[in-house]
């Protein structure tokens, strides 16, 4: 059975990944760590995004990413966070797409995390004021560490799970 040019398998994998994002976002909410005004988080759901980047088609990854941002934005963050993570999400997706085959998965994840944070800071700068630019260095450093942890986890998942 085919749904347009979207096979049942593709659809199911997408749905599965989106629900995984939701579960990860929920688990993460149970362990709150805050270091910055943006609520510095590990972003466990990003494991799913990086995983999808390597295993799925670009279009599917984008769908999972947008679904993840909407879900975590609406359920866990609030409407303001939606804008911040939307710009961050688009930034990180683009950089990861460019670096995908050039660098190791851990490095790609690190850059994804860094650009997610840069996008957030940029969005905050536009909405509020340019003073927030002072947060950029600490956000980049935070991105390196969270991206590293996410990258290692995704590396393990990516090499073991077959779709």
């Amino acid at each position: 059975m085919r749904l347009g040019n979207f096979s049942v398998k593709r659809l199911t994998v997408c749905a599965l990944l989106v629900s995984l994002c939701f579960v990860f976002s929920f688990i993460e909410r149970l362990i709150p760590i805050s270091l910055s005004p943006f609520g510095f988080k590990l972003g466990l759901a990003n494991i799913v995004i990086v995983f999808a980047l390597y295993k799925c088609q670009i279009f599917d990854t984008l769908i999972v990413l947008i679904a993840k941002i909407l879900i975590s934005g609406i359920c866990f963050g609030g409407p303001v966070y939606l804008f911040y993570s939307l710009l961050g999400g688009v930034f990180s997706f683009l950089i990861m797409l460019v670096l995908k085959n050039k660098l190791h998965i851990v490095t790609v994840s690190i850059f994804g995390a860094i650009f997610f944070n840069i996008g957030q800071v940029l969005c905050a700068c536009i909405i509020m004021s340019w003073n927030i630019v002072y947060y950029l260095p600490i956000m980049v450093i935070a991105g390196v560490f969270t991206g590293f942890i996410i990258g290692i986890l995704t590396d393990i998942a990516e090499s073991r799970i077959k779709i």
């Binding site: 005004p37 085959n101 660098l103 509020m128 600490i138 450093i141």
Partner: protein, 127 residues
């Protein structure tokens, strides 16, 4: 397809990025001189500007446009911090105390921004 090995290039790129960010952070901290005014901005509008240096502990209630108190700012020992906030995540409450020019505490849910600034010679009334 994906690269299987973590190569030298990966390490170099990550180290360069980390070093740049760290030096920027150190630069910002070293450059910052102690400010003497606290500027509170609510919804992009200056709510009030107060002296950072106070003889005794001083609490300031930050209100939104409807007059509801959203955050309580405390000035103590030439530093400023948020003691209480209505928001869910409480990030501004956990934020470190600020005292240097350019440092700020931001409360995204309430759209409140607290900046340390230098006295520009402009009196409070002019705002």
């Amino acid at each position: 397809m994906r690269k299987r090995k973590f190569s030298v290039i990966d390490i170099i790129i990550v180290v360069v990025v980390l070093a740049t960010a760290l030096s920027a952070l150190i630069f910002i901290n070293a450059m910052g001189n102690d400010g003497n005014k606290v500027e509170i901005i609510v919804n992009g509008v200056v709510f009030s500007t107060v002296n950072l240096k106070t003889d005794e502990k001083k609490e300031i209630e930050i209100k939104d446009s409807k007059g509801k108190v959203t955050n309580i700012l405390v000035l103590e020992n030439d530093t400023a911090y948020v003691e209480w906030a209505t928001c869910k995540n409480q990030d501004c409450v956990h934020h470190n105390r600020i005292s240097k020019v350019g440092e700020s505490i931001v409360c995204l849910p309430n759209n409140v921004e607290i900046n340390i600034i230098e006295n520009t010679g402009v009196e409070d009334a002019a705002w």
